[in-house]
Symmetry: C2
Subunit: 236 residues, 2 copies
């Protein structure tokens, strides 16, 4: 499906990079873009292949996966709605990008998209700022992967996911119990944190037993003691 009139139905119209464009500019970009739905587990870019597209993520969650030749895997990034997807100015993709939930994208062919970038300094500047932020995030995660213990990793991950969920649907009582769904399986959490499934499971059970969180089903988490969680994530 080609975009309706002028992205008026776009759920992330203002948060995505396109937010920097006025109506006239949007028309040009709009002509390039195509909606695409992907189902959970489907990949849109493969490491080592020519990366011919860029996109805005409209809904769902994607993972960036790095892997060794013998099959070990590491999730090196997660993408959420309004995030930019893909690598301009780079032919061969370094990481495989796969949907961890059903997702919807607004896809652009890479080369024309690069031309739009060059013609629109505001948009390029926004992309630079996002890229700088992604770089800071990746470097912060390097500290976690290399130097934090399994309890710290899991507590920090739960805290971060709660913060993200909380920023979407803000609660009246900050610090009070917050409930949300993890978008990832235990195995995917393990792939983010550089642990194994078993270790993630054990640490979550430990937090539950300690009364810090409640687990309902396999996805839902309730934060019972945010201060304790923070204390386990960042020991003094």
């Amino acid at each position: 499906m080609i975009h309706q009139d002028i992205c008026s139905d776009c759920a992330v119209r203002d948060q995505a990079l396109c937010g920097s464009l006025d109506d006239r500019e949007l028309i040009a970009l709009n002509r390039l873009g195509q909606r695409r739905r992907v189902v959970r587990g489907e990949s849109i870019i493969w490491a080592g292949e020519e990366s011919v597209i860029c996109a805005n993520l409209l809904s769902g969650v994607l993972k960036l996966v790095a892997s060794t030749s013998d099959g070990r895997e590491q999730i090196v990034g997660l993408l959420y709605p309004a995030d930019f997807v893909g690598q301009p100015y780079e032919g061969e993709a370094d990481f495989t990008i796969t949907a961890v939930t059903d997702a919807e994208l607004c896809v652009f062919p890479r080369a024309p998209f690069e031309r739009v970038l060059e013609d629109h300094g505001r948009m390029e500047k926004l992309l630079l700022q996002r890229t700088l932020q992604a770089l800071r995030d990746a470097r912060a995660q390097m500290l976690t992967l290399a130097r934090k213990s399994a309890p710290e990793k899991v507590a920090g991950f739960v805290r971060d996911m709660a913060a993200r969920a909380g920023s979407n649907s803000c609660r009246a009582t900050p610090g009070g119990p917050v409930t949300f769904d993890l978008p990832l399986t235990r195995g995917q959490i393990a792939d983010v944190l550089g642990l194994t499934i078993e270790t993630v499971s054990r640490q979550l059970t430990r937090l539950k037993t300690a009364g810090v969180i409640r687990l309902s089903g396999t996805r839902a988490v309730t934060i019972l003691d945010a201060a304790a969680l923070e204390g386990q994530a960042e020991p003094a």
Copy 2:
């Protein structure tokens, strides 16, 4: 010392971001820049402090260090001559930047530098491309930190340092013995790889005993068997 005429004595004039500017543009930037020397161990930016400068690195090697509140440290990036230093568009620095060798910088106040960026699309595009590359590097390193064994980490590190040294002073016989100096101490290598000093030392000794490398003094390394080194760095 203010720049002499027009950066004519700059060792990295063509490789650094400034390479994108013509002589007229360079005059404007030149007026902002100041040379600064730092000695080994000296920091130019501190995590948590306001980050008021950007710079080009002219000579020497810098490290970006992330640390936990209880003192664990991780080197999340190394900067070499012609690399860009600092975080435009971001007030508070996330990482401490420290010289690992004596170094020389061309320093710009951040705010005016940002204005130059906005006025010069070519330079902003170059910075975007460098930032995207740094992001790819950081993500690749996440795989190493989280999923590779100590032997793989150390072999890969030695290979990468050899490649960097080799790219500067190219040898006639590719694959033949290459000798170079590590710019880092064992402790700093450990901080890059997420290991301890002792483990790095043991792995280097193992590579020496296996006849893959020769160690002369504490800094010099000779690659005796590049194929074996590659094999240990990236097991099938």
